[in-house]
């Protein structure tokens, strides 16, 4: 444990030294360090892990977005997966060729046009998911948003134009000139870049008047309104911003090889998985959310085929494991990994201050 702490301390200190030289330097270096990942994964393990890394990046975007509304602004939403679905399906049908199969809608737009439109549509949907927050709080808000999120999935499941039970197939991948993002490796660069930029902007929001307004609403809504914060406006803004992240993640998911979407990708189970990421990561902590997303994506992938037989019936272990770990986390680690990070930062600050004081007396 001591070695572990020492390593983190070295990394943080290194990052701070870099940040003093230029604000963006740690970000650029982290980005460069992530560039060779697909080749390392492919040579050490298998091609499949690159696909997993891609999905981890999408879930990072989702978790970071959910953190804005839930972590910064304190609004409990369980409808986030519905926004993800809206982003994915909108982008898919905009990019599909008209009449490609059956009743499916298709508009034949370029993928680069389809994604921004899908993000805009999702942002508008974010306003609708956010509207209950004007009057409801806590568990009541969670129920209202749960209903909205689930109704999106059911709508997709029963509408042949949106894929219904067969799903949407052959969704075209993005292209630049003659280059097509159809391999796991090429798509990795697309989603990884988006995820890094997404994390960066999440910090930009947090460290501005906007982020402070969100946090003030989370801490005390009445005090925030008396401090001149338009509570309704900022709550809705938090929902819209998180919807932008969800819409972007959804659209990127739709065009990811093999270009297949099914409403089973957007169930309550997926939502619980997403919540688990944010809770494990520590509500309100950006880096915690990122770590949570990576850990849970890997755990999800490793446990999804585990089955045991009870009286000759197959029982899937995963929901049990995930549900149980959620309960245990809330009971024993309510601040998640982010709580560790914050405690660690606090200790560092305390040590630094004490050292400064000692220097003063010497």
């Amino acid at each position: 444990m001591n070695v572990f702490v020492l390593i983190i301390e070295k990394i943080v200190a290194f990052g701070e030294t870099l940040a003093r030289k230029h604000r963006l330097l740690p970000w650029v270096l982290a980005y460069i360090a992530l560039l060779p990942l697909p080749y390392i994964l492919a040579s050490l393990f298998s091609e499949y892990l690159i696909n997993l890394a891609n999905r981890a990046c999408l879930f990072i975007l989702l978790a970071v977005g959910l953190n804005i509304v839930k972590g910064f602004c304190g609004q409990v939403t369980v409808g986030h997966i519905g926004l993800y679905a809206i982003g994915a399906v909108t982008s898919a049908i905009l990019a599909l060729e008209p009449g490609s199969f059956g009743d499916t809608w298709g508009f034949g737009l370029s993928v680069w046009v389809a994604i921004p439109i899908a993000v805009l549509v999702t942002a508008l949907a974010g306003v609708i998911v956010g509207l209950p927050s004007v009057r409801l709080e806590g568990a009541y808000l969670a129920l209202a948003t749960l209903g909205l999120g689930e109704s999106v999935r059911i709508m997709i499941a029963v509408t042949p134009q949106l894929g219904s039970s067969t799903g949407l197939m052959m969704i075209p991948p993005p292209t630049i000139g003659s280059f097509v993002f159809e391999s796991f490796t090429s798509y990795y660069y697309l989603v990884m870049t988006t995820a890094v930029i997404g994390i960066y902007f999440s910090f930009s929001i947090l460290r501005s008047a906007t982020g402070r307004a969100f946090q003030a609403i989370r801490e005390d809504t009445i005090a925030a309104s008396v401090n001149g914060i338009n509570v309704v406006k900022y709550k809705l803004l938090a929902f819209v911003l998180s919807a932008v992240y969800a819409g972007l993640a959804g659209a990127l998911f739709a065009h990811m090889p093999p270009g297949y979407l099914h409403h089973n990708n957007f169930t309550i189970i997926e939502m619980v998985t997403l919540l688990l990421m944010v809770v494990l990561g520590g509500i309100g902590n950006v880096w915690g959310g990122v770590i949570g997303a990576i850990v849970v994506t890997i755990a999800y992938d490793q446990t999804k085929d585990l089955v045991f037989y009870f009286m000759d019936r197959p029982i899937i272990i995963q929901p049990i494991v995930f549900g149980l770990s959620m309960v245990l986390l809330v009971l024993f680690m309510p601040r998640g990994i982010g709580g560790w990070i914050e405690g660690f930062q606090r200790n560092r600050r305390f040590i630094k201050q004490s050292e400064e004081r000692l220097d003063g007396t010497a």
Binding site: A209, R212, E219, I222, S225, V226, L237
Partner: protein, 265 residues
Amino acid sequence: MALLETRNLSKSFGGLQAINEVSLKVEPNTVHGLIGPNGSGKSTFFNLLTGVYQPDAGSYIEFDGIDITDKPAHFIAEQGLSRTFQLLRLYGELSVLDNVMVGYHPHTKYSPLAPFFKGAEVRRQDAIVRDEMMELLEFIGLAEHAEIPAAELSGGQRRLLALGRAIATRPKLLLLDEPGAGLSPVNVDNLMATIMTLKERYNLTIVVVEHILKVVMNTCETVSVLDHGQKISEGTPEFVKNDPAVVEAYLGREMADEEIRAAMG
């Protein structure tokens, strides 16, 4: 002209008439005291002024020449009316510096979406605000605790921070809801001294609710007395102290009669 004026301000919760047709004027650059027994409606009165509650029909509140009846709380704050809370309502998990920076919110010069498009501008503006807010913290004596979460401050420091946050909105009128509650007499004196310096420095008008009568009598130019939601007396501290209606409200009729009898000898 009065800075704040209420006419026939009323508020009822179901059958309970919490505030009943209170008309009040607060003159600029004064300290106006508001006293009354427990449950007389002092805090409700503040909540009506700051838009936390909506007043009943027929009420009228004017602040600095603007009608603020039925206006939302953030609009009223933007006009320059700020307050502290009896239970402080600090942002516990935010740092001391962030608490006062939230107070500065109405004067933010960039749009809420600027962090996406104009990062450099946001950082430049925030640096200016941070310096200004550090100066304020320096003044109220919390500068060395700027980085720690507000929840970790001591009781007295928390009262100072609540005051600092209210002043960070750069108000014209400051409403103080029992600033001295829970403090020792010496600390109350110190706090009142700080408040008076802040009044001079930021050119404030102050309305103060306080149970500690010594504070009210020493600092206020005018005192209004509420009882059962009605204004029963108003005037100089000396006048109010000797008003039989006030004595009765605090001590009850029998006691008041006894006092008068004793006074008559």
